[in-house]
Symmetry: C2
Subunit: 220 residues, 2 copies
Protein backbone atom coordinates (compact mmCIF):
# COMPACT_ATOMS: atom_id res chain seq x y z
CA UNK A 1 0.00 0.00 0.00
CA UNK A 2 1.30 3.43 -0.92
CA UNK A 3 1.07 5.93 1.91
CA UNK A 4 1.85 9.61 1.76
CA UNK A 5 4.99 10.76 3.48
CA UNK A 6 4.31 12.60 6.75
CA UNK A 7 6.40 15.72 7.56
CA UNK A 8 9.25 14.98 9.98
CA UNK A 9 7.99 17.46 12.58
CA UNK A 10 4.63 15.66 12.60
CA UNK A 11 6.33 12.26 12.88
CA UNK A 12 8.17 13.59 15.94
CA UNK A 13 4.87 14.55 17.59
CA UNK A 14 2.83 11.43 16.74
CA UNK A 15 4.41 9.35 19.55
CA UNK A 16 3.50 12.13 21.99
CA UNK A 17 -0.14 12.01 20.87
CA UNK A 18 -0.02 8.23 21.10
CA UNK A 19 1.18 8.37 24.70
CA UNK A 20 -1.65 10.77 25.59
CA UNK A 21 -4.21 8.55 23.83
CA UNK A 22 -2.99 5.48 25.73
CA UNK A 23 -3.42 7.38 29.01
CA UNK A 24 -6.91 8.53 28.01
CA UNK A 25 -7.92 5.01 26.97
CA UNK A 26 -6.59 3.64 30.27
CA UNK A 27 -8.84 6.18 32.01
CA UNK A 28 -11.85 4.98 30.03
CA UNK A 29 -12.20 8.04 27.77
CA UNK A 30 -13.49 7.20 24.26
CA UNK A 31 -13.35 10.57 22.44
CA UNK A 32 -10.97 13.53 22.68
CA UNK A 33 -11.18 17.09 21.35
CA UNK A 34 -8.19 18.60 19.55
CA UNK A 35 -8.05 21.14 22.41
CA UNK A 36 -7.71 18.48 25.11
CA UNK A 37 -5.24 16.44 23.07
CA UNK A 38 -3.25 19.63 22.45
CA UNK A 39 -3.14 20.56 26.09
CA UNK A 40 -2.06 17.10 27.22
CA UNK A 41 0.57 16.92 24.50
CA UNK A 42 1.88 20.44 25.15
CA UNK A 43 1.24 21.83 21.64
CA UNK A 44 -1.49 24.08 20.23
CA UNK A 45 -4.81 22.75 18.93
CA UNK A 46 -4.33 24.01 15.37
CA UNK A 47 -1.11 22.01 15.15
CA UNK A 48 -2.86 18.88 16.45
CA UNK A 49 -5.52 19.20 13.76
CA UNK A 50 -2.92 19.79 11.05
CA UNK A 51 -0.79 16.85 12.23
CA UNK A 52 -3.73 14.47 12.36
CA UNK A 53 -4.93 15.60 8.93
CA UNK A 54 -1.73 14.03 7.55
CA UNK A 55 -3.15 10.71 8.78
CA UNK A 56 -6.44 11.46 7.06
CA UNK A 57 -8.10 12.03 10.45
CA UNK A 58 -10.26 15.12 10.75
CA UNK A 59 -12.38 14.42 13.84
CA UNK A 60 -16.07 15.23 14.15
CA UNK A 61 -17.24 18.75 15.02
CA UNK A 62 -18.46 18.88 18.62
CA UNK A 63 -17.21 15.35 19.33
CA UNK A 64 -13.54 15.29 18.43
CA UNK A 65 -11.55 12.21 17.63
CA UNK A 66 -12.27 8.61 18.57
CA UNK A 67 -9.50 7.61 20.96
CA UNK A 68 -9.29 3.97 19.88
CA UNK A 69 -9.38 4.67 16.17
CA UNK A 70 -6.74 7.40 16.43
CA UNK A 71 -4.53 5.05 18.47
CA UNK A 72 -4.91 2.45 15.75
CA UNK A 73 -4.04 4.94 13.01
CA UNK A 74 -0.96 6.35 14.73
CA UNK A 75 0.25 2.90 15.76
CA UNK A 76 -0.12 1.66 12.23
CA UNK A 77 1.54 4.68 10.55
CA UNK A 78 4.49 4.59 12.95
CA UNK A 79 5.00 0.91 12.17
CA UNK A 80 4.20 -0.06 15.75
CA UNK A 81 1.58 -2.70 14.95
CA UNK A 82 4.17 -5.39 15.55
CA UNK A 83 6.87 -5.66 18.21
CA UNK A 84 10.41 -4.65 17.29
CA UNK A 85 13.19 -6.59 18.98
CA UNK A 86 15.90 -4.33 20.38
CA UNK A 87 19.54 -5.23 20.92
CA UNK A 88 21.73 -2.99 23.06
CA UNK A 89 25.44 -2.86 22.34
CA UNK A 90 27.78 -1.45 25.00
CA UNK A 91 26.63 -2.35 28.49
CA UNK A 92 27.95 0.53 30.58
CA UNK A 93 25.72 2.63 32.83
CA UNK A 94 23.58 3.88 29.95
CA UNK A 95 23.26 0.44 28.36
CA UNK A 96 22.17 -0.98 31.72
CA UNK A 97 19.67 1.83 32.26
CA UNK A 98 18.13 1.17 28.83
CA UNK A 99 18.11 -2.63 29.36
CA UNK A 100 16.03 -2.01 32.51
CA UNK A 101 13.76 0.57 30.88
CA UNK A 102 10.21 -0.73 31.31
CA UNK A 103 8.91 1.82 28.78
CA UNK A 104 10.63 -0.02 25.92
CA UNK A 105 9.00 -3.38 26.62
CA UNK A 106 5.61 -1.91 27.52
CA UNK A 107 5.43 0.01 24.26
CA UNK A 108 6.41 -2.68 21.80
CA UNK A 109 10.21 -2.61 21.93
CA UNK A 110 11.29 -5.65 23.95
CA UNK A 111 15.02 -5.76 24.61
CA UNK A 112 15.99 -9.22 23.40
CA UNK A 113 19.79 -9.11 23.45
CA UNK A 114 22.68 -7.32 25.15
CA UNK A 115 26.19 -7.25 23.70
CA UNK A 116 29.58 -6.11 24.92
CA UNK A 117 33.21 -6.98 24.21
CA UNK A 118 34.41 -6.87 27.83
CA UNK A 119 35.09 -10.43 29.03
CA UNK A 120 34.36 -9.33 32.60
CA UNK A 121 30.79 -8.46 31.55
CA UNK A 122 30.10 -11.24 29.02
CA UNK A 123 28.10 -14.01 30.70
CA UNK A 124 26.74 -11.79 33.49
CA UNK A 125 23.09 -10.79 33.60
CA UNK A 126 21.22 -7.46 33.48
CA UNK A 127 17.49 -7.53 34.13
CA UNK A 128 17.32 -11.22 33.25
CA UNK A 129 19.30 -10.87 30.00
CA UNK A 130 22.70 -12.52 29.65
CA UNK A 131 25.31 -10.18 28.18
CA UNK A 132 26.75 -11.86 25.06
CA UNK A 133 29.98 -11.21 23.25
CA UNK A 134 29.58 -8.94 20.23
CA UNK A 135 31.07 -11.70 18.08
CA UNK A 136 27.77 -13.58 18.41
CA UNK A 137 25.67 -10.68 17.05
CA UNK A 138 24.61 -12.46 13.85
CA UNK A 139 23.83 -15.73 15.64
CA UNK A 140 20.47 -16.96 14.24
CA UNK A 141 19.46 -18.55 17.56
CA UNK A 142 19.10 -15.07 19.08
CA UNK A 143 16.27 -14.33 16.65
CA UNK A 144 16.06 -11.29 14.37
CA UNK A 145 17.11 -7.88 15.71
CA UNK A 146 14.97 -5.04 14.43
CA UNK A 147 16.70 -2.11 16.15
CA UNK A 148 20.24 -1.80 17.45
CA UNK A 149 20.88 0.65 20.28
CA UNK A 150 24.46 1.91 20.31
CA UNK A 151 25.73 2.84 23.76
CA UNK A 152 29.43 2.21 23.15
CA UNK A 153 32.31 4.66 23.53
CA UNK A 154 32.56 6.89 20.43
CA UNK A 155 35.87 5.40 19.30
CA UNK A 156 34.28 2.02 18.51
CA UNK A 157 30.79 3.16 17.49
CA UNK A 158 31.42 3.03 13.74
CA UNK A 159 32.93 -0.45 13.90
CA UNK A 160 30.04 -1.70 16.02
CA UNK A 161 27.54 -0.10 13.62
CA UNK A 162 29.23 -1.91 10.72
CA UNK A 163 28.86 -5.21 12.56
CA UNK A 164 25.19 -4.56 13.33
CA UNK A 165 24.54 -3.71 9.67
CA UNK A 166 26.41 -6.85 8.55
CA UNK A 167 24.14 -8.83 10.90
CA UNK A 168 21.07 -7.43 9.11
CA UNK A 169 20.05 -4.64 11.49
CA UNK A 170 18.27 -1.87 9.51
CA UNK A 171 17.68 0.71 12.26
CA UNK A 172 20.14 2.10 14.80
CA UNK A 173 19.52 4.43 17.72
CA UNK A 174 22.91 6.04 18.32
CA UNK A 175 23.74 7.41 21.78
CA UNK A 176 27.48 7.62 21.04
CA UNK A 177 28.57 11.25 20.57
CA UNK A 178 29.76 10.71 17.01
CA UNK A 179 28.14 10.64 13.57
CA UNK A 180 28.13 7.12 12.13
CA UNK A 181 27.97 6.29 8.42
CA UNK A 182 25.64 3.52 7.26
CA UNK A 183 24.34 2.25 3.90
CA UNK A 184 21.19 3.89 2.49
CA UNK A 185 18.91 1.04 3.50
CA UNK A 186 19.77 1.55 7.19
CA UNK A 187 18.08 4.26 9.28
CA UNK A 188 20.00 6.00 12.05
CA UNK A 189 18.66 8.33 14.72
CA UNK A 190 21.10 10.15 16.96
CA UNK A 191 20.24 10.95 20.56
CA UNK A 192 22.22 13.82 22.06
CA UNK A 193 21.19 14.44 25.65
CA UNK A 194 23.15 17.70 25.80
CA UNK A 195 20.77 19.11 23.16
CA UNK A 196 17.94 18.58 25.65
CA UNK A 197 19.78 20.70 28.20
CA UNK A 198 20.45 23.39 25.60
CA UNK A 199 16.81 23.60 24.55
CA UNK A 200 15.75 23.61 28.21
CA UNK A 201 18.22 26.42 28.83
CA UNK A 202 16.62 28.54 26.08
CA UNK A 203 13.12 28.09 27.51
CA UNK A 204 14.38 28.79 31.03
CA UNK A 205 15.91 32.07 29.86
CA UNK A 206 12.70 32.97 27.96
CA UNK A 207 10.57 32.12 30.98
CA UNK A 208 12.69 34.33 33.21
CA UNK A 209 12.46 37.18 30.69
CA UNK A 210 8.67 36.77 30.56
CA UNK A 211 8.49 36.86 34.35
CA UNK A 212 10.44 40.13 34.23
CA UNK A 213 7.84 41.56 31.81
CA UNK A 214 10.32 41.48 28.97
CA UNK A 215 7.93 40.11 26.36
CA UNK A 216 7.28 41.68 22.97
CA UNK A 217 3.58 42.57 22.60
CA UNK A 218 3.06 40.24 19.65
CA UNK A 219 5.28 37.38 20.71
CA UNK A 220 4.60 34.52 18.36
CA UNK B 1 17.04 43.72 25.98
CA UNK B 2 13.88 42.58 24.27
CA UNK B 3 14.37 39.70 21.89
CA UNK B 4 11.84 38.17 19.59
CA UNK B 5 10.55 34.76 20.46
CA UNK B 6 11.94 32.00 18.23
CA UNK B 7 9.59 29.22 17.05
CA UNK B 8 9.95 26.02 19.11
CA UNK B 9 10.90 23.90 16.11
CA UNK B 10 13.76 26.32 15.37
CA UNK B 11 14.87 26.28 19.01
CA UNK B 12 15.05 22.49 18.77
CA UNK B 13 17.37 22.72 15.75
CA UNK B 14 19.69 25.52 16.97
CA UNK B 15 21.72 23.18 19.21
CA UNK B 16 22.23 20.88 16.22
CA UNK B 17 23.59 23.79 14.17
CA UNK B 18 25.75 24.79 17.10
CA UNK B 19 27.27 21.32 17.32
CA UNK B 20 28.06 21.42 13.59
CA UNK B 21 29.60 24.91 13.91
CA UNK B 22 31.81 23.77 16.79
CA UNK B 23 33.05 20.87 14.67
CA UNK B 24 33.71 23.19 11.70
CA UNK B 25 35.55 25.70 13.90
CA UNK B 26 37.65 22.87 15.38
CA UNK B 27 38.59 21.95 11.80
CA UNK B 28 39.66 25.53 11.07
CA UNK B 29 36.74 26.44 8.78
CA UNK B 30 35.69 30.12 9.04
CA UNK B 31 32.62 30.34 6.77
CA UNK B 32 29.86 27.89 5.97
CA UNK B 33 27.17 27.85 3.28
CA UNK B 34 23.57 27.10 4.20
CA UNK B 35 23.88 24.01 1.98
CA UNK B 36 26.85 22.62 3.91
CA UNK B 37 25.33 23.48 7.27
CA UNK B 38 22.10 21.82 6.15
CA UNK B 39 23.82 18.64 5.04
CA UNK B 40 25.84 18.31 8.24
CA UNK B 41 22.77 19.02 10.39
CA UNK B 42 20.54 16.66 8.42
CA UNK B 43 17.91 19.24 7.40
CA UNK B 44 17.29 21.09 4.12
CA UNK B 45 19.03 24.34 3.20
CA UNK B 46 15.83 26.41 2.98
CA UNK B 47 15.02 25.45 6.57
CA UNK B 48 18.52 26.44 7.73
CA UNK B 49 18.13 29.88 6.13
CA UNK B 50 14.66 30.31 7.64
CA UNK B 51 15.85 29.20 11.09
CA UNK B 52 18.85 31.52 11.06
CA UNK B 53 16.73 34.44 9.87
CA UNK B 54 14.98 34.24 13.26
CA UNK B 55 18.35 35.17 14.76
CA UNK B 56 18.68 38.07 12.33
CA UNK B 57 21.38 36.19 10.42
CA UNK B 58 21.07 36.14 6.65
CA UNK B 59 24.58 35.20 5.50
CA UNK B 60 26.34 36.68 2.48
CA UNK B 61 25.59 35.50 -1.04
CA UNK B 62 28.45 33.38 -2.37
CA UNK B 63 30.16 33.30 1.04
CA UNK B 64 27.62 32.00 3.50
CA UNK B 65 27.72 32.54 7.24
CA UNK B 66 30.69 33.36 9.42
CA UNK B 67 31.21 30.33 11.64
CA UNK B 68 32.43 32.23 14.72
CA UNK B 69 29.75 34.91 14.59
CA UNK B 70 26.98 32.36 14.10
CA UNK B 71 28.31 30.35 17.05
CA UNK B 72 28.24 33.49 19.14
CA UNK B 73 24.67 34.31 18.11
CA UNK B 74 23.29 30.83 18.75
CA UNK B 75 25.16 30.49 22.03
CA UNK B 76 23.83 33.81 23.18
CA UNK B 77 20.21 33.20 22.11
CA UNK B 78 20.15 29.76 23.73
CA UNK B 79 21.38 31.28 26.98
CA UNK B 80 24.62 29.30 26.80
CA UNK B 81 27.01 32.23 27.27
CA UNK B 82 27.43 31.22 30.89
CA UNK B 83 27.79 27.78 32.46
CA UNK B 84 24.70 26.21 34.02
CA UNK B 85 25.28 24.02 37.06
CA UNK B 86 23.44 20.71 36.85
CA UNK B 87 22.26 18.58 39.77
CA UNK B 88 21.17 15.01 39.15
CA UNK B 89 18.61 13.48 41.49
CA UNK B 90 18.23 9.71 41.55
CA UNK B 91 21.54 7.95 41.10
CA UNK B 92 20.55 4.66 39.48
CA UNK B 93 22.05 3.46 36.20
CA UNK B 94 20.72 6.42 34.23
CA UNK B 95 21.79 8.96 36.86
CA UNK B 96 25.27 7.44 36.86
CA UNK B 97 25.44 7.49 33.08
CA UNK B 98 24.52 11.18 33.03
CA UNK B 99 26.93 12.04 35.85
CA UNK B 100 29.71 10.56 33.71
CA UNK B 101 28.54 12.21 30.50
CA UNK B 102 31.47 14.25 29.19
CA UNK B 103 29.20 16.08 26.71
CA UNK B 104 27.48 17.93 29.56
CA UNK B 105 30.65 19.39 31.04
CA UNK B 106 32.29 20.09 27.68
CA UNK B 107 29.27 22.06 26.45
CA UNK B 108 28.65 24.31 29.45
CA UNK B 109 26.61 22.08 31.76
CA UNK B 110 28.96 20.92 34.54
CA UNK B 111 27.36 18.40 36.89
CA UNK B 112 27.96 19.94 40.31
CA UNK B 113 25.85 17.78 42.61
CA UNK B 114 24.34 14.31 42.85
CA UNK B 115 21.46 13.47 45.18
CA UNK B 116 19.74 10.30 46.28
CA UNK B 117 17.75 9.13 49.31
CA UNK B 118 19.31 5.65 49.54
CA UNK B 119 21.63 5.52 52.56
CA UNK B 120 23.67 2.82 50.83
CA UNK B 121 24.51 5.30 48.05
CA UNK B 122 24.84 8.53 50.05
CA UNK B 123 28.50 9.26 50.72
CA UNK B 124 29.78 7.13 47.83
CA UNK B 125 31.32 8.74 44.74
CA UNK B 126 30.46 8.77 41.05
CA UNK B 127 32.96 10.33 38.67
CA UNK B 128 34.53 12.31 41.50
CA UNK B 129 31.21 13.62 42.88
CA UNK B 130 30.02 12.55 46.31
CA UNK B 131 26.36 11.47 46.33
CA UNK B 132 24.53 13.63 48.90
CA UNK B 133 21.25 13.03 50.64
CA UNK B 134 18.33 14.83 49.00
CA UNK B 135 17.66 16.55 52.34
CA UNK B 136 20.72 18.75 51.66
CA UNK B 137 19.43 19.98 48.28
CA UNK B 138 18.99 23.61 49.36
CA UNK B 139 22.32 23.74 51.18
CA UNK B 140 24.00 27.07 50.18
CA UNK B 141 27.50 25.61 50.38
CA UNK B 142 26.73 23.47 47.30
CA UNK B 143 26.36 26.65 45.23
CA UNK B 144 23.38 27.52 43.03
CA UNK B 145 21.77 24.80 40.91
CA UNK B 146 20.59 26.02 37.53
CA UNK B 147 19.12 22.80 36.16
CA UNK B 148 17.82 19.75 37.99
CA UNK B 149 17.90 16.42 36.17
CA UNK B 150 15.25 14.00 37.44
CA UNK B 151 16.22 10.35 37.11
CA UNK B 152 14.14 9.00 40.00
CA UNK B 153 11.46 6.31 39.87
CA UNK B 154 8.16 7.82 38.68
CA UNK B 155 6.43 7.34 42.05
CA UNK B 156 8.64 9.95 43.75
CA UNK B 157 9.31 12.27 40.79
CA UNK B 158 6.67 14.86 41.73
CA UNK B 159 7.84 15.05 45.34
CA UNK B 160 11.46 15.42 44.24
CA UNK B 161 10.45 18.10 41.73
CA UNK B 162 8.68 19.99 44.54
CA UNK B 163 11.85 19.89 46.61
CA UNK B 164 14.00 21.10 43.71
CA UNK B 165 11.60 23.99 43.10
CA UNK B 166 11.58 24.85 46.82
CA UNK B 167 15.39 24.96 46.63
CA UNK B 168 15.20 27.56 43.85
CA UNK B 169 15.72 25.37 40.77
CA UNK B 170 13.94 26.94 37.76
CA UNK B 171 14.59 24.30 35.07
CA UNK B 172 14.07 20.55 35.25
CA UNK B 173 14.96 17.87 32.70
CA UNK B 174 12.60 15.02 33.53
CA UNK B 175 13.56 11.47 32.58
CA UNK B 176 10.93 9.91 34.87
CA UNK B 177 8.05 8.47 32.82
CA UNK B 178 5.44 10.73 34.40
CA UNK B 179 4.20 14.29 33.85
CA UNK B 180 5.23 16.55 36.73
CA UNK B 181 3.44 19.76 37.71
CA UNK B 182 5.51 22.85 38.52
CA UNK B 183 4.80 26.56 39.08
CA UNK B 184 4.77 28.84 36.01
CA UNK B 185 8.22 30.25 36.64
CA UNK B 186 9.77 26.78 36.35
CA UNK B 187 10.55 25.22 32.96
CA UNK B 188 10.28 21.45 32.50
CA UNK B 189 11.41 19.38 29.55
CA UNK B 190 10.49 15.72 29.40
CA UNK B 191 12.78 13.16 27.82
CA UNK B 192 11.06 9.98 26.69
CA UNK B 193 13.54 7.60 25.12
CA UNK B 194 10.77 5.32 23.84
CA UNK B 195 9.64 8.19 21.58
CA UNK B 196 13.04 8.01 19.91
CA UNK B 197 12.48 4.33 19.13
CA UNK B 198 9.00 5.07 17.80
CA UNK B 199 10.23 7.81 15.48
CA UNK B 200 13.11 5.58 14.36
CA UNK B 201 10.60 2.83 13.68
CA UNK B 202 8.59 5.12 11.38
CA UNK B 203 11.65 6.10 9.36
CA UNK B 204 12.79 2.47 9.19
CA UNK B 205 9.42 1.44 7.77
CA UNK B 206 9.50 4.38 5.30
CA UNK B 207 13.03 3.51 4.22
CA UNK B 208 12.04 -0.11 3.58
CA UNK B 209 9.01 1.04 1.58
CA UNK B 210 11.28 3.35 -0.48
CA UNK B 211 13.71 0.51 -1.14
CA UNK B 212 10.77 -1.55 -2.39
CA UNK B 213 9.91 1.26 -4.85
CA UNK B 214 6.81 2.13 -2.88
CA UNK B 215 7.26 5.92 -3.02
CA UNK B 216 4.65 8.40 -4.19
CA UNK B 217 6.00 10.46 -7.12
CA UNK B 218 5.73 13.76 -5.24
CA UNK B 219 6.74 12.61 -1.79
CA UNK B 220 7.29 15.71 0.28
Amino acid sequence: MTTRRIPDATVDRLPVYLRVLLDLAAGGQTTVSSEQLAELAGVNAAKVRKDLSHLGSYGTRGVGYEVDYLRFEITSRLGLSHESAVAIVGIGNLGRALANHAGFRDRGFPVTALFDVDDAKVGTEVDGHVIRHLDTVGDPELGPISIGVLTTPPAVAQEVANRLVAAGVTAILNFAPIVIAVPDHVTVRKVDLTLELQVLSYHQQRNEADAAGDTPPMAG
